[in-house]
Structures are given as structure tokens and as C-alpha cells.
Symmetry: C4
Subunit: 374 residues, 4 copies
């Protein structure tokens, strides 16, 4: 392939994720892949929601409890979802085309995620076949992110392959009935490189190339609530509905069979001007009322963000961009570095705030609204 961003494998020294993002942009620009960096970093419209996904975490402040006799060695970030044991509550969100940043593509991310004791969600727009995912790392748990199409043959093709290759759950993306207007991409005339096909989609006989699918009009349909149950029945796997942003939608999803709620505004990449996910979280937690687990994404850049999301009721958080930065700089080991960085920051926050494990965090951590107040 002529497309080349990086292929180095190494452990990373990370100060924090925001700094790593800046370095990523610089590094990608240096190898003539500024457009691809913009595609990954950017958001829709004015990027108001992208920015507020991050800055709205500052609307909550932690109140530590410090006379507890806690011992650092007892600090523990282990948790689980659907019976899958995880070393960390920070998992990997689906994102398209990991080949954009590193030659190992999704296989690098999968290995790095596994080494970090976490789990990965493989995107419909993966550069790798699900078969390769399965063969590369059969021990690693992974979810399959399913992006609904109007062509039911394609839907069946993808879901059946996901089952066959061992996905542990289906993550149904609900993004609305159109694509976000990402102005960076419009300005850059960004397009996916034909050297980086979406291999699983390309394997579907009706589309000669996986890339074409993005231009096919019939992708642009939202999912019906009833289709959640159908997917569940068809796959026999737990179904998480990803893209939930209100209590009403969470209830609708659960009543239609969802086994988990995944709060996301796809990192501010779809609709600009909407509220941040951390602002939406309390309403959704209340609506879900502990019936199913809640995964939270969009805006996580630091361990304190993870802490705050869990303290407000999320069960897991997911990160999409950060693992790609790690993948770019260090392949699988870079992905592990990023996930470990966030886990370390979370653990540090926990111990300094006065909690030693995730359960205690979720039950006892105290947050307070910062100034200003609505």
C-alpha cells in the first residue's frame, strides 16, 4: 500500500492526552496526512459540542474525602460488563479506518487494548476483516459496532459475520438520519484513501469497494426502536444502543430490548449545538434506573473525566480518538500506553479522592456543581 502514516511499535511516555493530540496533529501533518488528522480530531459545525463535551466536565468538581486510612496498594480499577472481566472501566469506542494512523490498523488497536486489560469495539468501517480480528487475538473480547443500512442483505451479512467471528456484543449505532457536517473535512475535500478499503464491507458482494458505501444514499436512515429487538434475536448477543442522549431515548431503547445504553454524541462529530454527554448523563442515569449497564463516551480526555462520569452513574467509559493517537505513535504498545495512562490517572484520582475501587467510586464519590450555576 502506498498510504503510510506510521509503523513504529513502542511504549509511549505520555504527559496527558490533550498534549498527545497536539503531537498527533503535528506528526500526521509531517507525513502529509493533515487531512486525515483533521478527520480524526475534528467535529461537526462550529465544534461547539466537541469542545463542550470536554469543558463541561469542569461544571462538576470533586469533593475528596481524605481521612480514610486508604492504602495505595489496595487501589483497584477492575470491573466487568456482561460477565467479561476488565482491568479498567475504560474501553475503546468504535472508530473508522484505523489504518489512517498506523499500518497495523485495527489489529494493532485490538492487541494494545487486550494488553491493557480492556475491550475494543470494532467499527463497521474497519480496515480489517472480522475474520482477521478473530484470528489475530482470539482471547481478546471485542464488541461489534453495527451501523444500520437500508439494505437488509448487508445488515444480515455483517451481523452474521460478527457472530461467526466471536463478537461478545453488538453495539448498534444510532446517529440520526444523516451524516454530520464536518467543516474541516469539507474544507479539506477529505475522502478515504482507496489504499485503505473497509475490508469487511468490501467483502459484501453488492459493493465492489468498501469505500463506496459511504456514498450510498440508502445508508441514511435512522433505526426504529423495534429493530433493536430484531437484531438481538438475530444475533443472540447482548445489544448496546450507542448514541443515546436523552432519558426518553434510553427508556425507548430498554423497552425495546436493549441490554445496555451507550451515551454518545460520537465525539461531537454528528450534530453541533447539542448538549454535551456529561450534561446529558444524570437525566439518562435516572431514566435507566440501574436496569442495564451504561457506557459513556464523548469528551473523555483525562482520568478525572472518567472519575466524574462514573460518579454520576456511568458503568464504563469509552474513548475513541485517544487510542488512535497511541496507535499512531507506537502501534499496539502505544494503544496500551494510552489506556494505561488514563487508567493510572483514574486510579490516582480515586486514591486522592478517597475511594479504592469502582464500586466505592460509584456509591460514595461526591461531586458538586462548580460555578457558575444555572
Amino acid at each position: 500500500m502506498s498510504y503510510h502514516a506510521n509503523s513504529i511499535e513502542k511504549e509511549l511516555e505520555i504527559i496527558n492526552i490533550p498534549d498527545l493530540e497536539k503531537e498527533f496533529e503535528k506528526s500526521m501533518s509531517a507525513v502529509n496526512h493533515k487531512k486525515e488528522a483533521d478527520f480524526i480530531i475534528g467535529g461537526a459545525g462550529s465544534e461547539y459540542t466537541l469542545q463542550h463535551n470536554i469543558s463541561d466536565f469542569d461544571n462538576w468538581e470533586i469533593v475528596p474525602s481524605v481521612i480514610r486510612g486508604l492504602d495505595e496498594s489496595r487501589g483497584n480499577t477492575a470491573t466487568e460488563i456482561f460477565g467479561i472481566k476488565l482491568k479498567t472501566p475504560i474501553i475503546v469506542s468504535p472508530s473508522a479506518a484505523h489504518g489512517l494512523v498506523h499500518s497495523t490498523a485495527e489489529l494493532g488497536t485490538l492487541k494494545g487494548t487486550f494488553d491493557a486489560g480492556s475491550l475494543m469495539t470494532v467499527s463497521t468501517f474497519s480496515n480489517e476483516l472480522l475474520k482477521s480480528i478473530h484470528e489475530a487475538e482470539s482471547a481478546a473480547p471485542w464488541f461489534y459496532q453495527f451501523s444500520f443500512d437500508q439494505n437488509q442483505n448487508l445488515n444480515n451479512f455483517l451481523l452474521n459475520e460478527a457472530i461467526r467471528q466471536g463478537a461478545k456484543a453488538i453495539v448498534v449505532g444510532v446517529f440520526g438520519a444523516s451524516f454530520g457536517r464536518r467543516e474541516r473535512d469539507i474544507r479539506n475535500h477529505f475522502d478515504f484513501d482507496s489504499d485503505l478499503p473497509f475490508r469487511q464491507l468490501a467483502a459484501f458482494p453488492e459493493y465492489p469497494s468498501g469505500l463506496d458505501i459511504l456514498k450510498v444514499n440508502n445508508r441514511k436512515r435512522d433505526i426504529n426502536p423495534e429493530e433493536i429487538a430484531k437484531i438481538k434475536e438475530q444475533t443472540g448477543l447482548p445489544v448496546l444502543v450507542k448514541g443515546i442522549q436523552s432519558g426518553a431515548d434510553a427508556i425507548r431503547a430498554i423497552e425495546n430490548g436493549a441490554d445496555g445504553i451507550w451515551i454518545s454524541n460520537t465525539g461531537g462529530r454528528q450534530l453541533d449545538g447539542i448538549r454535551s454527554t456529561i450534561k446529558a448523563l444524570p437525566e439518562i442515569v435516572e431514566a435507566v434506573n440501574k436496569r442495564v449497564p451504561i457506557v459513556f463516551d464523548s469528551g473523555i480526555r483525562r482520568g478525572q473525566h472518567v472519575f466524574k462520569a462514573l460518579a454520576l452513574g456511568a458503568d464504563l467509559v469509552a474513548v475513541g480518538r485517544a487510542p488512535l493517537y497511541g496507535l499512531h505513535f507506537g502501534g499496539a504498545r502505544g494503544v496500551t500506553s494510552v489506556l494505561e495512562q488514563l487508567r493510572t490517572e483514574l486510579l490516582n484520582t480515586m486514591l486522592l479522592a478517597g475511594v479504592t475501587d469502582i464500586k466505592e467510586l460509584k456509591n460514595n464519590a461526591r461531586l458538586e456543581h462548580s460555578y457558575p450555576r444555572a
Copy 2:
């Protein structure tokens, strides 16, 4: 004419309107028309209200609903006012002297607006005769913005001509009893170019040149509520009162016969230090109580702004500056590009927020206060 800003006709590639504004300023400066650009872009006083007209949209955030089974092809922005069918809820506000930005002046705007399926409001301070408007594009619906004068002969002259040339409604501007202090214009010693006469005003026998009228003291009087009914009776046309900024004034206008309320602070060009129109909107919607349609202007720069204004109760929105930027860069086709850009952004917002048409938007869209931000 020696005054020349541009005369190119072409479709535009637009990223967003704020960017287009910056390019407009640059382009006008390059042809020695910085003063004219400042006149169009600028606002009164410290431009506090100009800026808050835009930024106060951020005081509302959209809460999307995403499991609806919506299909992009069903998305529809059509609406109507006074029985006039429109492809878009985004119409053109009145603004003076379109000849400042393009040689086709108001005729270009009219054609571009028509091609976009929208309607234009022709200003009293037009560089074109109403007769030319009528003859150029007889199929295009247009409103006539009437700027009240103390000279009743002039008023009669203008209103009669508007009827004769086929205006679909009269938009009575209520701006207060003086002109706004636009500091850019004072600094620039801005004056309208004598090569660009206000042709319709110049046709009034008592004023040798249309430009002089701005210096005539007796223009500086506000309108009485009772005069609304008189204009309505005189013209037999629907009357919209433009410049409304409070519930009390909306009620006063309706009780005196107004057929529509047009919320506007003339884009922050009259009085600085007043509240933004989006801040004023809910109070006015409550006062109007669906008795007459509400047009909203001042601050609209993006599709999400249109969405928010409609979700809060407006029926149409109007844009004044943006079409001029389009006119400048591409004549009629540029105007169409601008109106289509905003319509496309709106439609995208609708589909991603979970509504497919304007009625559904107005009835079901959910907004939430953002945290107050300085």
C-alpha cells in the same frame, strides 16, 4: 457607474457563513470598499448586541432524539406564510443598497432568492425601482419593507407603488426615533455613494436624490400603533411589524391590526446594549400566542440557529447580511448558494435531531438551557 464591487455570477462553495463573512470583508477591502463592508458587517456602539445576537444561541442546546426510523429522503423544509408556499423557512430581510456589493443589486438578490424557493423583502432604501423588481421576476414573491416618514406624501407614494408593483405584504419597520450610532461608519466617515442612488426614493418628486433622504430630519420619527391599521387599510395587504423586541410591543402591534410579528433588532445596528432577539423570543411567542405568524431575525448564521429559533416558536427566520455576502461573490447564484447552505445546514440539524419537517420541528424539538457562560 464608477462604483464597482463585483459583477461575477457563479455558484459558491461555502463552508459556513461566518467564514464567508471574513472572506467578504477581505474581498471588499481588496477593491477599496472596506468602508462599505464595515457598513454591512458592523453594528451599533460597542457591538455587544451584534455579538450576543449570535452567541446567545449557545444559551440553548439541542437534545436530539435518535431512534425514530427516520429516512433522510423524507426530510423537508417546506413551509408557508400568508398562503405563499416556500421551500425553506429562511427568507431575506430587508437591507439597504445591494448595489454596494454587486452590480446586479436587488435584482440579483431577488432572482437568487427566487431560485432558492424563498422570498425577499425589498427595502425602502433599494437601489432599484419597485417597477424593475416587478418586471424582472414577476413570479417571485416579495415583501416591501416600508420605512415610515413624517412626510405623508412620501409614505403614500411608496405604499402605492408597492401595491402597484405587486408586493405580497408590507413590512413596517419600527426602529425607534433615531438612527443607530454605528461607530465603524462614524470612524470611516461612511456615506452612500452617489453612483448608487436609492432609485425608488429618488423617484419621489420632492427629493432630487434618493440619498438625501437619510439626512432629512423628519425621517426620525417612530410609528404610532394606530398607523399600522391605516397602512393595512390603505394597501389592502398583510402588514408585518418588524423591529418587535418585547411581548408588550407584540401585543400592541397585534391589537392594532398587525398580521405578523417580525422580531428584529436590525442585526444589532440600531441600539447597542439591548438583549439579543433569541433571548427576547420566548416572551414574544407567549404574547403572540399563535394569533399571527412570527418572523425572527438578527443573529442567524448557521442552520442550528434556524433550528433553535423555530423550536422556540418562530415560524420563519430572516437573514440580511448573509445574502449580501452571496450576492457579492456570485450574484444571483451566490444568493442561492447562501440560502441553500443555510437550508442544508438546517435540514441536516433536523435529521440528526430527529425531526423531518418544520411542523414536527416546531412541535417536538427539544431544547435545554445550557449552563450560563460569560
Copy 3:
């Protein structure tokens, strides 16, 4: 005298006062009087209060009323205090040493103020004798700002001279029991120039030079409430208490005989970290309950600020720095230009907001809290 800042007499073209302030700083720096400019422009501490005096006006927004049938020619800013007719509600605050900016010193300010139909408050720290004030412009009304000293002989000397020279009222400054820490002055090692004596103070036999008095320890005492009545009795003149910042202090002053309340934090020059005067105003208006007139200063830079202060209950506003900028650039005519600029901005705001005179402004103008809200 060797000290020289300017001596030009001319009318000024002013865009707005904030711009004039920047030009003033530049002009004073160009003639080696940056320290003096800093003394005038600067405030105490971190200048938090100086800045919030201005920016807190943005916490209120005007809601205009625009269908009134108002006629610009009826706009009128006339008002009065203690029976003195004024063309404008904007008077001149006391400030030290006008000789710092222009060779005509307080005599220039007095004439310029008179020509603007306003009144001036002469500071204890004037570079001119009260006799010169009296002789220069006997028709001009002026107040005498009295700065209380522990030396009763000095107090008597100054008050008696104020009576003899025709002061219309005594403005008793209450500033607390120390001097503000103005960091610019500390950094600059600012000191008053011996070429610019405080002539009236220097005329007091116990102090060889008027300048020395600032270093005399016994100035540093606050006034007692009972002393207000004594001054009133001694002078037979109305007494305004200047420096009031709370309802409790306003009540205390009135109960001890004050004929007027002058709200001021001396332009942020005394104590930093206190609330702005516009924030304090409503509480004081309620406490005063129309028993005596209220003068408001600190923060006024624009006509809309005057409008807001009057709408919230002030009767007059006062400006201290702005007339000095006018004096610097144009002598007496420059002072008139500045006062006319603010009056014109106020009148423009009134007419556009829907009120024609000061009484109507005070009774009918509508303000609304801006975002953010507490």
C-alpha cells in the same frame, strides 16, 4: 511651569470614550507623562473592581419599546438637582490635579462643563484656588468636594472658602480610613509634580505646600456620621455624601442629614475586590426610597451606561476620567466635546429605547438581567 502635558484648545471628534482613553494614554506617553496617565487611568490592586465597574453594566440589557410615535426632536435630557437646571444628567466627578493633563487645569474643565450645560465638582486637591474658580466663571454652578482631615483648622479653612466662593453644595468624600493601593503608581514611583501645587491647600498656612498634605498621616481618618450634620450646619449648603456603596450606609448618611447620596467607589481606585457600583445601585435605591437625590459614578463610559444607571434609579451620573481626556486633547472645548458625546449617546439610547425625557426614562425604561444569572 516646566510641567507640560498640552495646551491646545479645540473641539474633538470622538468615536467613543474607551477609544479616547487609549489615545489619551498614548498622547501622555508621547510627552513623557505616562506615569500621570497611569495615575488617572489606573485603579487599586488587580483592577478587578475598576474593570467590573464597566463590564457589570453588561449584566443588564435594555428592552426597547418601539411603537410609540416618538419624534426625535422631542428628545430631551434636561434635569436638575437642588433646583439647579442642567441640560444633561451627566455631571463631572471630583478628581485631583487637572493640571496633570492640560495647562488650563480646573479652569478649563469648569468652562467646558458650563458650556455643556452641566456642573462640575471641584476637588480638594485642585490645582486652582477656589477664588479663581469663582472669578473665572461666576455663572457656572459647581459643587465642592470636601476631603475630611483630622485637622479641624484645615477643614474650617476649606469649607469657609467654599462658601465664600459660591459652591452650590458640599460633596463629602467617604473613602475609608486609608489610601488605595494603586499598583501602577507604586511601580512608577508616582508623585505629584511640585510644579503643580494643590493651590487651595497650599493657601492653608499650616502646610507650606499643598502637595505635602498627602503625606500627612492625620488625613487618614474616615468620617463619622455625625460630622455630616455638622458640615451641613457650618456651611448652610446641601451636603452630598460621596462614596456610598451599600443601603445601610445610605440610610446612615440620610439619617444624619445628607441631602443627597453619591454612589461611588472612586472608579475602582480605593479598594479592589469590592462589588461594582452598578451592582450596588438597586440595593441603595431601595434604601434611599426617593428621600434624596442619588448621584451615581464609577464605570460610566457610554451613553447606554448612563441609561442603565438612571433606569435602575439614579438621578444623575458623574464622570471623572472622561472629562480629563477631553481636557487633555482640547482644553475647555474638549471637555464640552466629551460631555456632549455622552449626552448624545444617552439621547440616542433613549430615543431608540422608546423614551424621550429623563422622567420617562426613570419611570418607564425596562431592563432585564442578561445571562448569566446568579
Copy 4:
């Protein structure tokens, strides 16, 4: 020793502490000790809490009372704690390794603090032996900051030495069960210089060098509430618990024997994303309910900050960084200059706000919430 930052002894001319901090950074960089400056100036994570510790003081505004007849000469900042008379309510917080900034290390700080009529808290991580502290300045009152270790032998060794050398109180630091992630230090690969041993720790036979202790895992344990009473019993001294950030922890500390509550987030150096101490103060004051004295630190940079903390219920405030800046530039005399600067600013604030002594400040000073600002 080869490590050298400065050894000059002189009185300082200080404009304000924030400026001094900037000069400190510059001066340390000039002698190749930028890393050490970063260690002192910096905070954890994104430094959100570090910055809000300071800026949140602006969430309160002072309302001065100005007609009191106060006399500057009566102004008095004297106060006391545990019967120790102090000239100022501003004491010195514990901080590590004063040798980083000046060759006299803690002995310079001790003398400077004594000369300012204040008291110093000596850190566990002092570069000087407690014996040297005792001998250098036997008249100076000092507290010993005790940093709890899992090794009980070390704890006993340190506490016994503190008693022997005359500490007036034990300040037990409760910081959570880990070390803060200070990104500047991580980026700089900061480490303490072996030329600057922690002498008192190094005197403990089990650790060959005082520096090693920071790397010893067993330091990372939080304290139990019950251990407060044990330390109190063991030492027979008053025990202050430092690091309290909530009402619940204050109550827990008091119920377990604490003689004083020391509110601190260690200057934003431990956990980022937590609320500022000034935001936490009112809740803690209410919980303590005057049972024991409250020391307040983190964020104090100006006299108005001291004023606000005392007005909200603190009894003393403590500063950690500022004395180090003074020590750097002027040795003991520099420390005195810094403490006098803050005391002077406080006194100035008191007199201008209308209170003359600390008791009156605490009982009568009026604060008001400012408008919430981002």
C-alpha cells in the same frame, strides 16, 4: 554544595505576589533551576484547581462600610492561635525543601517569619534538622507538619524529635493515598537534588538518604481518623489536621480529637478537578461551628483574599509558595517582606472596608456573591 539558587539577603520592594511569582520563575530559570521553579509554582493535572483556588475568590465581592469615623492608626491585624500571639493572621504553610530557592533554606524562612510576627510550619521534607530549627531561633514559634508513613518507627522518630525540639503543634497532613500527578514535574523529569537532602528524614537510621523516602512505597497510605487521637496522645501537643476539604471530614477530624482544622488542597498540587478551598470554606465553617480554630490555605495571593477567607469564617490563613519567592530573592528579609506585603494589603483592605481589627472583620465584614462568571 554545588546546588545554588541564591544567597542574597535583602528587603524586597514588592508590587504584588503574582508579579513576584513571575519574577521568581524568571530568576530561577536564569540560574538553571527552571525545573525547581516549576516544582514550586505548578499544580496537578490541568492545573484547574490551582487556578480556581485563586480565581474563585472573585466569586465573592466585598461590600465596604465607609462612614465609621475609623482612624488608620487603630488598624490592627493581631490575632492568636493556641495562645500564641501573632502580629498577623497570615502564617507559613509547610513546603518541602526550602533549599531549592535559597542557601539558608528553612532557617531563612524561620527567621523571616519570626521577624514578621508570624509562625512557620516546618515540613517533614525540610532540608534542615529540627534541632537546627530549634537552635537557630528558639524564640520563634513553629509547628511541625507531620507526613504519616506506614513505618511506625519513622513516625515515632519524627514526632519525638518534633516534641524535643519545641514544636508548638503537630500539623498532620492528610493528602489521600497517593501523590499528585504534577505534569510539569513529569515533563521535566524533576527529581530532588542530592545536594539538598531532607536532613531530618536522613537522620532516620533506616533510610540512608532523606531523598529516598519519596520513592518508598509504604508512604502511600492515608491516615485513619483514630490515628489523630494517637498522635495527640503521643505528643501532648495540639494537633491540626491539614488537608480538610469537606464538612464531613472536618467533623470526623474533630470527633477524633483534632484541635484545629486546616483547610487545604495543598495549593492544587495533589488532585486536580476538585473544588477550590474558598468554595469549600463555608461548608466547613458551618460543620466546625467554632469548636476549634480553622486555618485556611491554597489560593491566597493578595490581602483581599485573606480578608475574604477570614470574613467567611477562617481564623488564620497560610501561604506556602509566596514565602519561598521572598526567600529566594532576599533570604530571611525577603520572607519578612512577603509576609509584611500581604499583611499591609490586608490592613489596607480592612480599613477601606470599614473594620479595624480581626475580630471585627470576622464579625462584621460583609461579602456578597458576585455574578457567576465562567
